[in-house]
Each structure stands twice: as C-alpha cells, then as structure tokens.
Symmetry: C2
Subunit: 548 residues, 2 copies
C-alpha cells in the first residue's frame, strides 16, 4: 500500500499517524506545501500578543519527529500540482529546488485546507495588508507590530479576527474592527454577541458594524482604509479575516465533485467521487449533524477526526464520519462565547420549527466567591423537545455547559433529559441546580404547557391593539434602574394582593430580571384566571436584543 | 390539597417551591426542625476557612422570603414527632415553646435528611468534638477556631472531611486526618486518590490512613485522640466526618419500609410504602442508575431533583426519578477530584465484567500557557463499550470532563461515541483531540482489538515464569528518572532498528509515560510478529498505584 497525503497540518498529519499505527508496512508520503507540518494554527494570535512566548511551541510535531517516530516519508515545501487519476499518480513540485517529479499512489488523501479570502478590493496587495493562516503570516504581522505599528484595522469580526484584535490591543496597538454584518461572530445569533461587542468597546476597540472596506491607499503614515460609508481609517497594519475558501483547485482540475460553495464532496467514509481519493479537513463539504444540510465548517477538531476516519477506511477498518455539529468557542478579552449545533438564524433560514429559551445563571453557587454570570440560549424541537442547538456567552463555565450540550445533541437528547442531568456540584464548580438543569426546567415547562412563554421580540412587535400588558414583577428599585417601555411594576411578592389592578380582557406578559420570578408570577396569574405568559429570559434578554 | 413537608433544606424546599408553582391554592406547610431553611450546607467549610465572609450568604432563602414569595406556611424550630397514617396527621413539637400540636395532611413529603454518624467511642461527647451538618455546627467549630485552637484532628477523609481540612489549614490550624480505609475519598478507586493524598501531605497535613480513633480524653491542652495503633494526637478541635445515616426514625416508627442500610424505600415516583407519603433527599434509598443496585447517595443535586419529582406526582403531573449516578466533585487545595457512575471497586464488588483505561492529558492545548495535567479513568462494558463510570483528578478542566461523561452515562453512550464527540476547542479551553476523545480512542482501540492492553496490576502480578518482558519505550533520560522494576529501555524511535533485542517466545509489554508511545510501540511489534501488549496508562498509572 502506497498512501500519499496532500497537506500536513491537522487532518493530514492525523491521517498519517493513524495510517502508520494501522500499517507498519505501508509507504506513507506526507506532502506539505509550506515548511512546517502539524503546527498549532489556533495559537498564532497568541504568539503575536505575547501570551505564547516561544515560537517553537507552535510546532506541535516537526517533520523530523514524524520521520523518526512514524517512519513517514515527509516532504515539506512540496506542492502537489496535479492529479492523474487514470494513472494514479500526482505531479509534485519541490518549491526549494523547483524540480518537478511524479509519485504514484494506491490511495490518496487530500487535506489541503482552506485559504483566507482576499477580496478584490483596490489596493489589497499593498504592503502592510495581511491574512493569518500560517507561521509565515504570523511572522509578517509580528514584524509589522515590532516595527512600531500604532494603528491597526482588522477586517472581519469572526473568530480569528477577534482573537487577533485582543492580541493587538495587548501589544498596545489601537485597533478598529470593520465587519460587514450587523454583529460580531457571524455564526452566533446576533443578541448573543451583544456582550462580546460591549466587551470590545470597553477594551477600547473601535467597532464598525455593517460596514466594509472599499479601498486601501498608501499614505505618509502607512495605509488608509477607505470604507463604503466614506470613513477613512489610518493604519500601519491591516489584517483580513473575512472568511476562507476551500483549497479545491487540485480536486477541481482532477474532475472531482465539489459543492456549490467549493467544498470537495465526500461520502460518509470521506471518499471523494473517486473511490481511491479521500478528502478531509477545511477543504471538504460536510453534513451538518443537526440539520442534515451540506456545510463547510473549518474547525481543527473535526479535521483531526476526519483524518482518522479516512485512514481507518483505507486500511480496511470501516468507519463513518457522522457529520459536524460546529461546536466552537472563542475568548474575547474577559468574555467567552461558545456555540454548538444549529443557531436560531440557521433554523429560520431552513424554515425548521423550533422554540427557544434563555437563562442567565451564575457559573457556580452564588454564595461562593467569584461566581460569574452567563447567558445560555437553547433552541429545540417544539414537538419532541430534542435539543437542536445552544449558545452561551459569559465568563467561567461557558465552555463546560456548551460541551455538555454538544454531547446532548450528539446523543439526540431532549430538554426533558436536561432536567435530569446529574452534573458535578460543589460550590466552586456549579450549583445544585446547574445552568443546564435550569435551561431544561424552563424549556420543559414551556413544552408541557405549564410555563407559557412569549419571546421578547414577539411581545414587542405585536400590534398595539392586541399587545399584552407588560408587568414588571421586579422590585421598584430594579424597575427604576431600567425597564421595558410601557411596562407597569407590580413586585411578585405583592402580586397576590394586587390582582385587582390587572385586566381580565387582555393578555398579561410578566417579566423579571432573568425569568424566574416572571415564571412564578405567570403561574399565579394563570391559576387566578388571567391570560398570562412569561417573557422568556426576562429583562436581561430584552437588554441583549436592545443594547444601550 | 393540604401538603405537609418535613424538612426545609434542599429536597424539602425544592418540593415546596415546585408545589406552589403547580398549585396556587394548596395549603403547603414546611416544617423544619432547625432555625434555618434552605441553607447552603455545601458552603459551610468555606465560611470556617474565610473564603465566604458573610454568614448571611449561606442562607439561600429565608423563611420570610418563602412566606412572601411562595405563600408557604413555614414553621422553623418545629420537630415532627410522629405520623398517624390512618388518621393522616402528624404530631409537631414547637421547639421554642415546647407546645405539641397536630396537623392533618392530604399528602406528606419526608425530607428529613441524614445525620452525621457519632460512633460510640469513649469520650465522644467531650467538648471540642463536633460534626458539621448545619449553621449551628459551623458556628461552634468557628468559635473553637477563633478561641485559638492550634491543632485539629479530622476523623474521616470523605468529601466534607477533606473540605474542612483545607479550611482549617487556611486558618492556620495544624491538622491531622485519621481515616479507617487505606485511602482518602472512599467513593473513588484508591489509585485515583493518590494525587489528593500527596497534595494533603504537601500542604502540611498529617495523613493517617488505615487508622481509627479508640478514645477521646481530656488533657490540659484540650483533647487527646487515642488511636487503635496506640498513637496519641493532641488537639483542641476534633471534627467527625465518618459518614451519615438516614434520619429514618419518623418513617420507621410509622411502619414505612426502609432498606437494609436504613434508607426510606421509595418507588420511582418517590412514593414510600404508604401512597400518600413521599420521601426525598439524603434519607431515602435510591436506585443506582448504572448498576441498578439500591444505594444511599447523600448529594444536593439529586435531593433537589427528587423534591421536584415528588411535587409533580402529588399535583397530578406524573414524573419518574431515574436513579442516581453519584456524580460528585471535591476540591482539595489545588487538586480537584470528580466521579460519576460506577467505580471499579463497585463493579468488582457486584461481579460485573468491565474494562478500564487511564489517560493523562492536559486540560488545554500544551502550546498555550497554564495547561494542567489530569488523570482520567474510564470503566466500560467489555462487550458493548457502554460507559459505566469515570473518575478524574487534576486541576483545571476536571469538572468539565466528568460532566461530559455524566451525560454520556445518562444517554447510555459507548466509548465509540467518545471518539466522535465534538467538544469546544480553542487553546484556552481544550485540545483538538480533547481528553474525552483521547479516552475514547484508547478504550475503543482496546475493544476493537487493535490496541491490546494489559493493566499495570496484571503486568506485575503475573507469575514470573510467564510474566511479560517489560519494555520502557521512553527516552533514556525518562528511564533514568524512574521506571518499572525489571523493565528494559528501548526508545520508541529506535524500536524499528532494535527488534532483534526482543524475544519471540515471550509476551512483550511496552510502556511509556502515559500510554501513547507504548501504543505505537505495541502496534509496531504486533505487526512484526511479536506477542505485544501496551501497559495501560503507562508509567504515570504505575506511579498512581505505587506512590513513592
């Protein structure tokens, strides 16, 4: 068996190591265009910011180590130029010597990754404008910072963009973010990104949403980024983080099928349309595990798993790739945001019915010092209660809750299962009723009908003639500090004695800070014959949707 | 509906709040023997240690709040003395006035909790000897510390015992722990507690395992604890943490069924043998969710859930309690230990077949600062791969992995599912191959037969004539720093060229530091015709079983 692997970072390196463990006798050639294999691309921003101080730490495995330990034929600076499928061989160019040569294969794995987009904007090739994909890109940005860049513009507020922003600020560079959409972190639902946007502003980052770069000009002070709005941003450093495109040229030239967005098509064994050619990693089109839709999800974890699955199938150990959930996490200064499964906007786009709940719990028991608030959003099937997706934003403990919900989605669990989860509790780590349980209680109560709930958006967009009376059941102090317009204030503890103040001919929508007192109020009112609902997630959710 | 609830802490208070949300009209009487309801019993040690500075924080809800918000008839300092089942009434004693009176019920929920054991040791009632169950106990221990106790003896190294030890040390009290078993934290498997025992010693705690108190004497310097070994320990403060017994007297006197260990018997609706009497919390016998065996598991999370379930059933909303997994966590200074599901010793005790693996990963990517090592142990069904239990010990991230595995157990997932879990990865929070994935890889490889593995204990206890040759495949430097007795050293990177040094007529057991190089070595050797196995979990696991 002679196995060629094109691309030596996450998916390719994983496939190679797995292949060797499965077959000591196979000839395994790992071909990488760059000078490094298996580097830590998720760590690049933190070297720029200085949290990672040794560049060598980013080299997870060296070519030499892959040779000595795994007996791999590793060839770096080697670009695969073409695949001859009928002859089962590839043409390779040695980028150092310029020499071209051919190599045959029995099986081929394509793991070429995805390349940062460079939109055709005038001036995009000026010096000082970078993307960040590999160590060489990192070195160039680092050099620019060390040569005294004082102002930076990051175009694109996705994961890599915001990680880079944090690290540029850490280096004392005044940074502006320009994002085409009206929110940061586009995979998230907009309201869940409000705390991240606020954090950026708090840390002195200028955030320009709904805007885009029209041109880049050179100036005496470096560069000027001209926006479509007419605004001009001076900068000595510009980094583009506007997305990636699958590196599919090799596949397309060889006649392999690709999807509409360019991802190489694979079956669930990760075979391309040529049964001797597999493909893995950021270059492929995957199946969204929740929606079943084709998707492109450039993430390191799935790439690694795909590498293993491809190697397993090649070496006679049938394995299936179950699809990608899109579990992802990002830290932005002191905020953490994480997501798994389908977002609300994805479900709306594909017109799939759902319900949603928000809870705003603490990460651990409130009586123990250091508890941090989070917001957890759950979307689920309105009939079965099956969990379809989750997002969380906050501080400590966000990663844990999203991991728990990622497993729940993998297992096909429902919101009723979340009520019953028995998670580890001591005051440093959680609560007797964990945030996950709380989300389960609210969602299950909603589906069982004991907890009728209206979404904040719906409560506010109903035509005035039929709009519910909003009743703020918090304390007068909380009410005075800010409330939903038109709401009246009746604290929950006084509600039983003030029922006569409420109408019987109009829906009553109770709300509190996070939803819990509103829930109790709703239960009281309904049992007393009122047409009452709870405003889901309370005033905190209103504030996410209507940031100050 | 008139509902009486006996006990107002976790299970009782949860049942009361839930009952009110389900029925605005019910008469709900909450009877609590102590002066406080719903206090944070898990926080008591941290008030003694000073991390929690305000005593009021431990009062999660006051009686007044329960009255005003939930319209509950709360009666503290009220002891229920007897149940008259035929007349459906209870006799209550007001502990302040001494008055006795009766109260009828339609339904009764027993949530009396469990009382700390006070073994009948001579001198056990001397002043200065305490247990820790409620705020009054805490106040007494606090007073003793503040009056200048310099030496303390904690009898029992369970969760509460060790939390108390940490906090006494924090207050500058020289502390000795006396534990009957040969390990700390009895619910865990012994080897998993070795890092906790080491941590205690590092922090200056004297740890006396396999020992017990025979008598307590008074002395001029306070107390003397005399051990069975003859050792005498001077102390001004002694705290007993040797377990709890269900408060079942009321139930037993009323003729309700109890289990052999005293737990009140309930069905999965949490009904006792009297259909109008429910029981919840530490006083009941539950079903172990994994083994199906009856068990007593005094934990706050399950108690809260049981309170909800009982109230649901009483108010016509049928609910089942699925059993208890025993998910628990404890922080001991800078170590965290957590467990869910069945331990290895439980499986041995009930003679249920299992396999096990150990992994020793970092909590997050090694290239990012601050990564901390953990040991994760997984026990699973040898046929199906179903996860039966997990334990972890380490620093950051232990809580997250045990929560993920708790959900896997709840969902009936297998080790093959762990391979496929898509967990949140960025360098601060995890790795592209998360510790959970790593455990899944090792366990799945073992079950698929690609990764033959021998447990450390088995490798060392096989009779010498048929014992495998131990090959340490780490570097010479690692070998020199400590290795398993009788092992020879052939680094994995030299293995392919030194095969001639190994026997074909004897099993070869490869090991490295954590199991990964040993796995590769095993794969190489088996493919070259050797009868090779990997020593599960490597030298680190050996060290857990054989602490220095």
């Amino acid at each position: 068996m002679k196995l060629l692997i094109v691309g030596g970072v996450a998916g390719g390196a994983s496939a190679a190591a797995r292949a060797r463990r499965l077959s000591e006798d196979a000839h395994i050639v790992l071909l990488e265009r760059g000078p490094d294999v298996s580097f830590a691309n998720c760590g690049l921003p933190y070297y720029i910011g200085g949290e990672i101080t040794e560049r060598e730490k980013l080299l997870v495995v060296t070519p030499q180590r892959l040779r000595s330990r795994y007996n791999l034929d590793v060839r770096v600076c080697s670009s695969v130029e073409a695949i001859d499928r009928s002859a089962k061989k590839v043409r390779i160019r040695d980028l150092v010597s310029g020499r071209e040569y051919e190599e045959t294969y029995d099986k081929l794995i394509l793991a070429p990754g995805a390349a940062p987009l460079r939109p055709p904007i005038p001036g995009i090739d000026l010096p000082g404008i970078f993307t960040l994909r590999n160590l060489q890109d990192m070195d160039r940005i680092m050099e620019c910072v060390e040569q005294g860049a004082r102002q930076a513009v990051v175009v694109g507020a996705g994961f890599i963009g915001l990680e880079l922003v944090e690290n540029l600020v850490r280096r004392g560079v005044a940074t502006t973010v320009v994002e085409l959409q009206d929110q940061v972190l586009p995979p998230f639902d907009k309201e869940m990104t409000a705390p991240v946007a606020e954090q950026l502003t708090t840390k002195g980052v200028a955030l320009l949403l709904g805007q885009s770069a029209e041109a880049f000009d050179q100036s005496s002070a470096g560069l000027v980024v001209r926006l479509k709005s007419g605004q001009q941003l001076p900068a000595q450093l510009v980094v583009l983080g506007v997305g990636v495109r699958p590196e599919n040229k090799l596949a397309v030239d060889a006649g392999l099928e690709v999807g509409p967005r360019g991802g190489i098509r694979v079956n669930d064994h990760l075979q391309t349309s040529d049964r001797d050619i597999y493909a893995v990693g950021d270059a492929i089109e995957v199946k969204d595990y929740v929606t079943g839709e084709p998707a492109q999800v450039p993430l390191a974890g799935p790439a690694n798993r795909q590498g293993r699955v491809a190697a397993d199938n090649i070496f006679g150990q049938p394995a299936r790739y179950r699809g990608t959930q899109g579990t992802a996490i990002v830290r932005v200064f002191e905020r953490t945001a994480a997501i798994t499964g389908a977002s609300e906007k994805t479900l709306r786009r594909i017109d799939r019915p759902y319900r949603k709940v928000y809870v705003h719990p603490l990460d651990h028991a409130g009586y123990y010092p250091g508890a941090e608030a989070m917001t957890l959003k759950l979307v689920f099937d309105p009939q079965t209660g099956r969990v379809l997706g989750a997002q969380a934003v906050g501080g400590a403990g966000v990663d844990k809750r999203i991991d728990v919900l990622a497993v729940a989605i993998q297992a096909g669990m429902t919101v009723f299962d979340l009520e019953e989860m028995e998670l580890a509790y001591s005051p440093q780590y959680g609560s007797a009723k964990d945030p996950i349980n709380m989300a389960g209680f609210v969602a299950s109560g909603l589906l069982r009908g004991e907890h009728p709930q209206i979404d904040v958006e719906a409560a506010l967009t109903t035509p005035p003639a039929v709009r519910a009376l909003l009743v703020d059941v918090r304390t007068p102090q909380e009410f005075a500090a800010g409330h939903i317009p038109e709401a009246v204030n009746i604290p929950v503890d006084e509600l039983r004695s003030r029922l006569n103040e409420l109408p019987h001919d109009r829906e009553v929508a109770a709300y509190c800070q996070v939803g819990q007192r509103g829930y109790l109020a709703t239960r009281i009112l309904r049992q007393k014959g009122f047409d009452a609902v709870n405003v889901g997630g309370g005033y905190k959710t209103y504030r996410l949707l209507h940031p100050r």
